[in-house]
């Protein structure tokens, strides 16, 4: 057989499936996608619904479908947003809200994860506490706002406390579940290798619980912004919630929408950050 037929024959062979090549120890060449145009297409497809929504928002007030006073066109609202940015007002409110949300979320994580891990170590304690924890988790945090204000006043403390409350229970419950549902065989095999209880906990139980814990953390991230904005609407002198209500009361309708858009973006950003952190912590999982 001449070498030319070999060369011809080679390209007709099917490439081995990727996982087969991985298992066989061969390097898997990433399939190169043509760069620019398909990427642009993907972005367009992904944002088609958003663009349609934006167009509707822009056009509906202009053609008189809705009252332009109460719902100004998107461009007007974005203009107001730009004004808020350039005057430095937005930074101030954004900073106030983000600080409260992050401080509250951090306190909740720093307390709920260790406590959940502790409770999860004992089946009977977890069973005993579960009903009351479920009760707390399902009590709308905002219903407790008057209580927090009553006890802690209307300052920063009560708002941060409310965020802590809203974030604490989802994280606590998911940590308990995560720690309780670790594969017993993993614990048994680690025990057989001589790992002591504390090592078992840090090297097996906790890493195994991370994906479950993160479900609670993502819920907490969403909840933090939700309750915070509401709390700021009730009583605050700064913050995105305050910005929205104050703008509405002063009839600065475009600024009100600018505040709402910012709140939506902050929510998206928090979720994106948590997703990224989750992916970093669970890179070992098979990508499906």
């Amino acid at each position: 057989m001449s070498s030319s037929t070999l060369e011809k024959a080679a390209p007709t062979l099917d490439p081995a499936p990727e996982d087969y090549r991985r298992r066989a120890g061969l390097t898997v060449d990433e399939v190169q996608t043509p760069r620019f145009l398909p990427a642009l297409g993907r972005v367009l497809r992904g944002s088609a619904a958003i663009l349609a929504f934006a167009a509707l928002w822009e056009v509906a007030p202009r053609i008189g479908l809705v009252d332009a006073v109460f719902l100004p066109p998107l461009s007007t609202s974005l203009g107001a947003l730009a004004d808020l940015v350039s005057s430095g007002q937005l930074t101030e409110h954004l900073q106030a809200s983000l600080t409260r949300a992050l401080v509250g979320l951090s306190i909740a994580l720093a307390t709920a994860i260790p406590l959940g891990a502790l409770i999860g170590r004992s089946a009977s304690v977890a069973r005993f506490l579960n009903p009351v924890l479920e009760l707390f988790r399902n009590t709308a945090a905002l219903a407790l706002l008057p209580v927090f204000v009553l006890i802690l006043g209307i300052g920063e403390t009560s708002k941060i406390a409310l965020v802590v409350y809203a974030c604490f229970f989802p994280v606590l419950l998911s940590t308990i579940t995560g720690v309780r549902t670790v594969d017993p065989l993993l614990l048994k095999s680690a025990r057989s290798l001589g790992l002591r209880p504390l090592q078992l906990f840090t090297k097996v139980t906790l890493p195994a619980a991370v994906p479950t814990i993160f479900t609670g953390v993502r819920m907490a991230g969403a909840a933090s912004i939700l309750v915070l904005v509401a709390a700021e609407m009730v009583g605050a002198r700064a913050g995105l919630g305050y910005l929205v209500t104050a703008a509405q009361q002063n009839f600065q309708i475009p600024a009100m929408y600018a505040g709402i858009i910012t709140i939506a973006l902050v929510g998206l950003a928090i979720n994106a950050v948590l997703l990224l952190a989750e992916r970093r912590l669970s890179r070992w999982r098979p990508t499906s």
Binding site: L185, L193, G194, K203, S282, W284
Partner: protein, 267 residues
């Protein structure tokens, strides 16, 4: 030869719930067994005969209700790295690479990081997984996962290697190649091996001695020496002597089955 492992009149009772009432269930009773240093002992028996309980007891994962378990003359008081277990379901930590999985047992005894990595790579080489150290378990086939588990068990340099039906979840070809690999590793390391299986062929092929266990309560009902003299490059399984030994183990198991059937008939 000194005994690596001695079980003297070992009994293990469990509390089981039966219609809401707790009842006592005896998993193993009057279990006597002595395994010489460096021997490959295969344990066969019908399911529910207490094979896994026997292994858990030797591993120190559970304590005997009565009787003694001695490892090189010292009583077993709990899990330690002088014994290592390979489980049927691999039990690898999915968030750790093959190398990091092998390092797990070394971490428990405080081996320094650099030495851990070196030992892990050496043992991955030993089980034929050179170049796979950075793979995660989900990137490995069943046979390769079990090789990692074997490397992990050997890395802590145990005096006794305990294996609980390690190849039962693998396909026939992978199983055969891992059996040969295990024999090669056993000859290279000289470890005492207690290998639990429900396969008669596997027991006769691997073991220097086969212990037959009978159930309810579990005890050793027969001990059969396997005096095969395998010639390299020849299929021992087709040797008439292999067939005779296989039949001997089979008959021993058959007696147990007949006995338990009459028991059932009497009840």
């Amino acid at each position: 030869m000194t005994a690596a492992l001695d079980l003297e009149a070992v009994r293990k009772d469990f509390v089981v719930r039966d219609n809401g009432r707790s009842a006592r269930f005896t998993a193993v009773q009057d279990l006597d067994l002595s395994v010489p240093d460096g021997q490959f002992l295969a344990v066969v028996g019908p399911s529910g005969c207490g094979k896994s309980t026997l292994l858990d007891l030797v591993a120190g994962l559970t304590t005997p209700t009565s009787g003694r378990i001695l490892l090189h003359g010292e009583p077993v008081t709990g899990p330690a790295t002088d014994r290592a277990v390979v489980f049927q379901q691999y039990a690898l930590l999915p968030w750790r690479t093959a190398r990091k999985n092998v390092e797990l047992g070394l971490e428990s005894v405080g081996v320094p990081r650099k030495q851990r990595a070196r030992l892990a790579d050496e043992h991955l080489d030993l089980v034929g997984l050179t170049g796979f150290a950075d793979r995660y378990p989900h990137e490995l086939s069943g046979g390769m996962k079990q090789r990692v588990a074997i490397a992990r068990a050997l890395a802590v340099d145990p005096r006794v290697l305990l294996m609980d039906e390690p190849f039962a979840a693998l396909d026939a070809q992978t199983r055969e190649s891992l059996q040969d690999e295990l024999l090669r590793i056993w000859r290279a390391t000289g470890k005492t091996v207690v290998f639990i299986t429900h396969g008669i062929d596997e027991a006769v092929y691997l073991g220097q001695r086969v212990a037959v266990m009978s159930p309810r309560p579990g005890r050793i009902s027969d001990l059969i020496d396997i005096d095969l003299d395998p010639v390299p490059g020849e299929d021992v399984r087709s040797d008439p002597a292999f067939g005779r030994l296989r039949h001997r183990v089979w008959s021993s198991l058959q007696q147990i089955e007949d006995r338990s059937e009459t028991e059932v008939a009497h009840v």
